[in-house]
Symmetry: C2
Subunit: 246 residues, 2 copies
């Protein structure tokens, strides 16, 4: 926990936050903070800031909070992920938030088992807690938006969410690397949407559908990676490209 | 399991392999292979090949094996990792092998708890099984070499293992990305050694030591990632750079 994230509801009118969960435990037992100590804090979906410890008791921690003027910039990477096995997605939520993604579209696909969607892993209470964990790891405040897509075709056709910018789809058939495709075009400041397939890959008809919606297919070489490894690899490469201005 | 990896000891003089563990179960229950079916196989630390199914019984599977002339190329990436919490390393072994690393040096560091080294996770029987799992995922045959380093200073001074080629060290103080440092120099075909610090980072004296041994410090931006996420991110970026010939 490299940042204590405060929920807007926890802030009182005089700018204090009363905390009593795992964050309080972390402040007491790991940071061993005494009154007066200043901690890195953030306001969920708001700015970063500083929290001065007022009270540390077994029941709660009270911080006096001050925040920067502006929230950090929203990550410009969105992902469209074919629903993986719930066990895999469970571990991925925090990683997505830590690596920095703006929106997470979880989609159906032909090779996705239908029963995967009947899981508590897709309940907002569950994933928001994991996302917050990732934000606190990476010192970010902006909760990724999660959208569950039951019909991929309809989703791509309607584009109910603005999917402006560049679109890439990871598939073993891709011969160019994600960096190579990014270096080619000049829209480097626009958002990017990255599609990642199910174990077993996309079906040919799905690949055609993505191509029809202007997704460029990218590859990662001959090694076949697990979904979670591929997600971390691809998102971190996109983030690196952004740091380099590509 | 995208490849069935055969141990040289399992090969009989007539080129057949008798298998009876989790691989046999995979062939029976997931691949549902019948006699005559050809499977992707590999010889541990040897070439890739094809295994024709001869026998499928509840007790065993027998394959007639044929192999390519040459083993796949050894990955040109080595990593030097400050010993993470055993729970984290446990999950990482398979990922290292799947992403493709040649050698894994697990080192002590000032911020590493000494007790971390007293764990079965560092026993060859344990990690080799996990590494084989990663190889079977990624369709590779070359088992990474694992070396446990108890004294980092001595290790760097003696260089008992040839650490030719480029050396990079990931640290939040690094201002250049790994790609930027790779694009700068012309040794693109040489091996690369990547150092990754403990949670809490390297101490200033350790950073000095690495600099004295010609490690260039690289950064990953302002987000603080968990060790396992950082490892996957950095190794996949290096692999991507290699695919691009950087």
């Amino acid at each position: 926990m490299n940042l204590i994230l405060i929920h807007p509801d926890e802030l009182t009118a005089d700018g204090r936050a009363h905390i009593s969960d795992v964050r309080a435990k972390h402040i007491r037992n790991i940071l061993r903070a005494k009154p007066g100590k200043k901690l890195r804090i953030g306001l969920l979906n708001g700015p970063l800031g500083t929290g001065a410890v007022d009270v540390v008791s077994p029941e709660k921690v009270v911080l006096t909070c001050s925040f920067e003027a502006e929230p950090p910039p929203r990550p410009s990477i969105d992902i469209l992920l074919a629903m993986p096995r719930p066990k895999v997605l469970k571990r991925l939520w925090a990683q997505f938030a830590a690596l920095g993604v703006g929106r997470i579209f979880i989609t159906n696909a032909e090779k996705v088992e239908r029963c995967y969607f009947d899981t508590h892993i897709l309940k907002p209470d569950f994933y928001n807690a994991r996302l917050v964990e990732g934000l606190q790891q990476a010192r970010d405040t902006l909760l990724p938006e999660v959208v569950v897509v039951k019909n991929l075709k309809q989703f791509l056709e309607n584009e109910p969410f603005p999917m402006v910018g560049r679109k890439r789809l990871a598939d073993p058939s891709g011969t160019r690397t994600i960096f190579q495709t990014l270096e080619d075009d000049a829209e480097s400041t626009s958002r990017i949407l990255l599609g990642i397939g199910p174990e077993g890959g996309w079906m040919p008809s799905e690949l055609d559908l993505f191509r029809a919606h202007h997704f460029e297919i990218i590859g990662m070489g001959s090694r076949i990676l697990r979904t979670d490894t591929a997600c971390i690899a691809l998102i971190s490469m996109l983030a690196e490209a952004r740091r380099m201005g590509v």
